[in-house]
């Protein structure tokens, strides 16, 4: 290992000028990355992790003010660069991979042309550039490279698109590769593949990497050292294993405590009848609430759901996991009656009435609380109307309190609330009256980890207290396991497996379930491995 680090940063500060005065994004951080090393920057949204990494490229919004005692990349003092030299530095020493590969690629050019453009900017002729493009695509395991090169971005999957972006970033043989949330938005099995590819390429080509993510275990598994950022300050830095197993800073401790633990089971409810053994779902779900028989749904010519049959018992939480496009959201919307379907959905209970009105059977908590709350209605208006419509007996204040919403937030509009607070309002709305079934469609996936844990606890708590049945949809097996009695696995519109939560982990049958469990467990094992090393 060479003596001089690829990246050395001392006293880095970035402020964004705004009408209300400067807003600090990064407040004096120091770190260095050695040659060939992978360094991880972890933090929640707004912690300044992306700003800190992008400062290395000097590619920041026009209102950003950057200062540092030292900012060197590959031996170049980045602060003194300008104009053509800055351009050459960015084009020659750096590669950046962004979160959304779909947005990083030009939809009107074939991916081959886009990769080849990088080589031609580097001075290669058309023929040479095309040859190198094929090699580059081959190197990121896109085969057959010549066929892939002729495709347009929309003809590739998200994982393949990200491979193209990586190929482009590596085309200049950079000294440093910056990966900004490279796998967020990708399915977990694709995530595993992409991260493995990055590790292999790093070993092969010897570039240093800065990996930015909100996902602490992911980073710990793939980086030697990590830094934890909070509000623009590096609160903790060290070997991944140390940070993960022996965090010293309070913030890191809470972050780690909040991680959905794949081995964490649903806590045995105190209310469960005595004699109900662990894993025995008979007690809660004994009486059927709703039964689906051969339910299917077609969108144009694509089958989103195929012949799905299952029963949700009264008081039961049924988890549904699947990748994007597996039909899990369609399943939730079908049960809620938001989309038409074939097959039969039958209810094991009478429709309840409130006065002359029939009360709804299903409420839904959507993934995106930004969109699921009317931006022009206050929290109080939303909750009051929900109680009226669902025939609830609580007051607005009681309902807000049970969902952990401060009384002072009641007269605020959604835009004045944080993501977690908005989701609490959406949850309170669904639990405003005694509705037999609540469908939760990825209710925590848009939230930071620490908030995710609290929202999950709230949901579990409300479910326990009200005895409402719940269909809990998520792509994250760990999240589903924490809350569900049984777990169903959707794959390509089919329910391939449905078992008690423990059995899914202990004896997964379907190959896809096995892969899912494996990739969830391997991340944890990788974390443990690096902890042992």
């Amino acid at each position: 290992m060479s003596d001089e680090p690829v990246v050395s940063v001392r006293g880095l500060r970035v402020e964004y000028r705004s009408r209300r005065g400067p807003l600090p994004a990064v407040s004096g951080i120091d770190f260095h990355v050695a040659r060939g090393e992978a360094y991880g920057l972890v933090g929640e949204s707004g912690s300044g992790k992306s700003t800190a990494a992008m400062a290395l490229t000097r590619y920041l919004p026009a209102n950003a003010e950057l200062s540092a005692a030292e900012l060197r990349v590959a031996g170049i003092d980045v602060l003194t660069l300008s104009g053509e030299r800055l351009r050459q530095f960015r084009g020659g020493q750096l590669g950046v991979v962004y979160q959304e590969p779909g947005l990083a690629l030009n939809p009107t050019m074939t991916v081959g042309e886009q990769v080849s453009e990088v080589y031609r900017l580097g001075g290669a002729g058309r023929k040479l550039a095309d040859e190198r493009t094929e090699q580059a695509l081959d190197r990121v395991r896109l085969q057959p490279a010549d066929a892939i090169a002729r495709r347009y971005p929309h003809e590739l999957s998200g994982g393949q698109q990200q491979r193209v972006v990586i190929a482009m970033a590596l085309a200049v043989s950079p000294a440093l590769l910056i990966l900004d949330e490279p796998t967020t938005g990708l399915d977990s099995s694709v995530e595993t593949e992409i991260m493995a590819l990055i590790d292999e390429l790093r070993a092969e080509l010897g570039f240093a990497a800065i990996l930015i993510s909100h996902n602490l275990p992911l980073i710990a598994a793939h980086c030697r050292r990590i830094g934890v950022l909070r509000d623009g300050v590096l609160v903790e830095e060290g070997l991944s294993a140390d940070v993960l197993t022996r965090p010293t800073h309070e913030y890191t401790k809470t972050l780690i405590a909040a991680l959905p633990d794949i081995t964490a089971k649903r806590p045995q409810s105190a209310a469960a009848p005595a004699g109900a053994a662990a894993g025995d779902t008979e007690a809660v779900g004994a009486q059927p609430l709703v039964t689906l028989a051969s339910v299917g749904k077609n969108y144009h010519h694509k089958q989103a759901l195929r012949d799905v049959s299952f029963t949700i018992g009264r008081g039961e939480v049924l988890g549904i996991v699947g990748e994007s496009g597996s039909g899990k959201t369609t399943l939730g919307r079908t049960i809620a009656g938001l989309v038409s379907h074939h097959g039969e959905i039958s209810w094991g209970i009478e429709r309840r009435r409130h006065g002359r009105r029939e009360l709804p059977q299903v409420q839904v908590v959507f993934q995106n609380a930004d969109l699921s709350l009317n931006p022009r209605r206050t929290v109080r208006q939303v909750l009051r109307r929900s109680i009226e419509l669902l025939g609830g007996e609580q007051t607005v204040e009681q309902l807000a309190d049970s969902a952990g919403i401060d009384a002072e937030l009641l007269d605020k509009l959604p835009a004045q609330l944080s993501g977690g607070q908005k989701q609490r309002v959406a949850i309170a709305r669904a639990f405003a009256g005694q509705v037999p079934l609540v469908v939760c469609d990825e209710p925590t996936s848009a939230l930071d980890v620490s908030i995710q844990a609290r929202i999950l606890r709230l949901l579990a708590d409300l479910q326990e207290r009200t005895g409402v049945s719940c269909l809990f949809i998520s792509h994250d097996l760990a999240v589903v396991r924490q809350i569900s009695h049984r777990i169903g696995v959707l794959y390509d519109g089919e329910l391939v497996e449905l078992k008690s939560s423990d059995e899914i982990f202990e004896a997964p049958e379907h190959p896809y379930t096995r892969q899912l469990v494996q990739s969830a467990m391997s991340l944890r094992q990788a974390g443990q491995r690096s902890a042992v090393a």
Binding site: A336, G337, L338, R357, E358, L359, P360, V362, Q363, V364, F366, N368, D370, L371, S372, L373, N374, P375, R376, R377, R385, S386, L389, L390, L413, P414, A415, Q416, A426, R429
Partner: protein, 306 residues
């Protein structure tokens, strides 16, 4: 030309408006505040075109309200036919010896009555139909949209001529005609804005709670397309004012001896070579009012988008 480009370009911008507004683009509550919050008013007042246009509009409103009060008489014969502008008659006199100054100021009240009421009516009809089409979708939407499409492609002036020939040129009839002619274009834009909102979870949540359709439309959807509706009022206003003047010019609106601007231009056209003031001042009046209203609309629209 700003006014005639009303339908296609404003449609696109108007569709963006609610999306930008409700996406919570800024961290502050400003994006959710009423369409003309204090901050936006301050931003508007800093725009010179807005200030000048507003001053011109206020001038014409005052003229429309006050011309009786200050004792102007648009009908009286001053005794001198086609007199040059002079100190006692700043805009000269017309072929019947009437004061062009008095007639130009007095013409403001018709211009500011039919155009604004007509465009408010158009927005009411258009928004209602647009919200209904966007909410119900399916065959309701198909039928309504087909009707809008047919009506939108009719040239408004010919459409209006037919309506005026059929229903007469009384003030009420003209207001209704303008309302009917402009409603389809507005309905299409509001429908598009509603469709964008329909995809959001809050509408699905309201439906899942079995909220009544009327309440979903009135309390959930309308407040969220309200900026678009306001912009449509102001955008159609300039066009409606111009259209009423055009009708009078063609002899289909106001009848003599009304001081209507369009009518004045029409009846003095013969004298444009020698006695230019008989045509110039009413023409300037129409132009200044239409252009300022359009500029106010543009400024409000720009200021309401973050």
């Amino acid at each position: 030309m700003a006014v005639s480009s009303f339908a296609p370009t404003s449609a696109e911008q108007a569709i963006e408006a609610p999306l930008l507004g409700s996406a919570g683009a800024g961290p502050t509550a400003a994006t959710q505040a009423p369409v003309l919050s204090r901050a936006r008013m301050r931003a508007l007042v800093r725009r010179p075109t807005f200030v000048i246009s507003a001053a011109i509009l206020v001038f014409w409103i005052l003229a429309a309200v006050l011309w009786h009060v200050v004792g102007l008489n648009p009908y009286a014969d001053t005794g001198k036919l086609l007199a040059d502008p002079n100190w006692s008659e700043p805009f000269g006199t017309d072929n019947l010896g009437r004061s062009v100054f008095a007639r130009t100021l007095a013409g403001a009240d018709r211009a500011l009555l039919i155009g604004p009421l007509g465009s408010i009516l158009a927005t009411l009809i258009g928004s209602t139909l647009g919200v209904i089409a966007g909410y119900f979708r399916g065959w309701v939407d198909t039928v309504l949209t087909r009707i809008f499409d047919v009506l939108v492609v009719l040239p408004p002036i010919i459409f209006l001529i037919v309506l005026v020939t059929g229903f007469g040129a009384s003030t009420t009839a003209l207001i209704v005609d303008i309302g009917v002619v402009y409603a389809p274009g507005i309905a299409r834009i509001i429908r598009a804005a509603v469709l964008a909102e329909m995809g959001k979870g809050y509408v699905a949540s309201a439906k899942l709670q079995r909220e009544s359709r009327i309440r979903i439309m009135a309390l959930e959807l309308v407040p969220n397309v309200w900026p678009t509706i306001l912009i449509q009022v102001t955008l159609s206003l300039a066009s409606a004012i111009l259209m009423t003047a055009t009708l009078s010019f063609l002899g289909l609106g106001a009848q003599p001896p009304s001081p209507d601007w369009g009518l004045q231009i029409n009846s003095n056209m013969l004298y444009i070579e020698q006695q230019w003031w008989t045509v110039l001042f009413p023409a300037l009046a129409v132009a200044s009012l239409v252009v300022s209203v359009q500029l106010i609309a543009d400024n409000v629209k720009e200021a309401s988008q973050p």
